[in-house]
Symmetry: C2
Subunit: 334 residues, 2 copies
């Protein structure tokens, strides 16, 4: 490639420092890099980015870049640029060979800098504090939305925000792996899955705890213990050099042995950073290999329609000699 | 077209009822429509959508659809589907002619149903109530983030959420059209621009008020009055049959006459619905024409780097004989 056209918002931020979620692009050439955004962000671009900025809307943006790109091979982000976006670039840059690329900047982002690790550590510490405050409020008679409100308002009060729609899935709703908090009233005997994260300074944390209200039935406690066993085994296996697919298998084999292979309906985990879900992908089909400096979740679960579900998720930093579990909220024993 | 592959999340919701923000697709053929999502959403898809659902991840999703599409022309959403997504479809459907389309479902969504109008009306009523409660708290000594917290926590408490990152831009930060709430302490004499919306049942509201803390300087009051004049003139012109580009010109001509043409650095407004920004686009280059049942914002502004800025935004329903202003929060006289 002679140049790279960066359109993915998290990649734009990572390369430029510009934090606007949707309206920046970066062109990297052998001569340097330029930030493109529009007039709503003139001041913000100056304040946030060391890159020279060109303020315009497409197609003026493309016209500005065109002369320097004539005859070159320019890579673009196929996983971010829409087909319409590509058509517009092709029309504006007829003399340019546009080459689809996947995951170039994402791969650079998978290993975090010390500053990024500090930021995510801080986000997780806040999430742990908030979860500790809210745990006693999870009891029979309150709704899932009450619990989510207590979490989200505390995150806001601390100057953060929720990293994603908070999942509070109680009783039979636990069978929805991504069951956002509803109006359901939590009942005695429920398991309640709470999946939450803080977004602080643009970086995310991510953690799930499944907690008991009263004494759940024996089958749900059996499922809980199986998920816990799978989670702890996968956490213990995290270190540099391990294949993501092998980690996924560690947890999946344990759940399969408990008759819960089919009930583990998603992958083991994912990287966390400027996005809640980023490289590496911890799933059976992944070719990623763990490296020191990666931040990953380990989050096996089991979901049984009509009955309920369990997920336990920790956030880990891969270190030179193994890992550090950043999420410190206690995991209950059932 | 023989069929349409729908990948835009708001379009998927609009056609299927399925509310997951990112993981559904709809295939519309002459025989009917099918919802595709993965196993995290099995139960949710059943509960929310009347469409038959096929539960799988790509490429199994594409393989399921392939036999019925052989030899057909299938439209896809060029503004939503990424280049990588198209490459995957091409690989999975070698016998299919894939045709890029722009804005097909978006155009259907521009005119709202009575149920959608009711939902947006309710979202705006909540936003008005919250703004009324928070207006007295906007005073010298509080930070922009304090104001945003008061708004957002009230929205959450009401079972809604913020439609977008709340903009609270005070004093010189008013020059940032999209200046999200910062730690800046509001001072006596500041103008404070507050741009907020509620998201309720998936639908959005959107409104901006610029309020005075103490008595701002004469130049900022002059700018305020010019924006107010432009806003009211554009609002008055809203009715079925009016070209969006002409509406934009109404406001832009007034601001230009006040020497603020360059300072009006964005378009006049946009449609609001399942997305905060959707069709119609109210800007000079738009070819959209207003129709009864559209929901649009009218939001001229003026931004002067180093000095400050003003924006006033109302949310309007286009009615058979003109319009109804849904945003009821008082606009201050300065």
């Amino acid at each position: 490639m002679d140049a790279l056209w960066v359109s993915d918002p998290a990649n734009v931020r990572s390369l430029s420092g510009f934090t606007s979620p949707a309206d920046g692009k970066v062109l990297v050439t052998r001569q340097g890099a330029t930030l493109y955004t529009d007039a709503r962000y003139t001041v913000q671009a100056e304040q946030e980015s060391p890159l020279p900025a060109f303020i315009a809307r497409p197609p003026a943006t493309y016209d500005h870049a065109a002369p320097g790109l004539e005859g070159l091979r320019v890579g673009f982000e196929a996983e971010s640029l829409t087909v319409a976006g590509l058509e517009d670039l092709q029309a504006a840059w007829p003399g340019v060979t546009l080459v689809p690329l996947r995951g170039v900047v994402q791969e650079l982002r998978a290993v975090k800098s010390p500053g990024e690790i500090r930021q995510i550590r801080e986000a997780q510490a806040l999430a742990d504090r908030v979860f500790g405050e809210v745990r006693p409020l999870i009891r029979a008679g309150v709704t899932e939305q009450d619990v989510a409100y207590e979490i989200e308002s505390r995150l806001l009060r601390a100057g953060a925000e929720s990293a994603f729609g908070i999942i509070v899935a109680s009783g039979p709703r636990g069978a929805l792996p991504h069951g956002h908090a509803s109006g359901r009233v939590i009942e005695d005997g429920d398991l309640v899955t709470v999946d939450m994260g803080a977004r602080l300074g643009g970086y995310h944390s991510d953690m799930t705890r499944t907690v008991a209200v009263g004494t759940p039935g024996e089958e749900m406690r059996r499922i809980y213990r199986a998920v816990y066993e799978a989670e702890q085994a996968a956490v213990a296996a995290v270190k540099p050099g391990v294949r993501a697919a092998d980690l996924d298998a560690v947890a999946r084999d344990i759940l399969t042995a408990h008759g819960l292979g089919e009930a583990f309906a998603h992958s083991l985990g994912h990287g966390v950073g400027l996005e809640v879900h980023e490289r590496p992908g911890l799933r059976g089909t992944s070719e990623d290999v763990l490296e020191a400096g990666m931040l990953v979740t380990i989050e096996p679960g089991a979901y049984v329609p009509g009955l309920g579900g369990v997920r336990i998720e920790d956030l880990l930093l891969v270190t030179e000699d193994g890992h550090e579990v950043l999420s410190r909220s206690p995991i209950e024993e059932l």
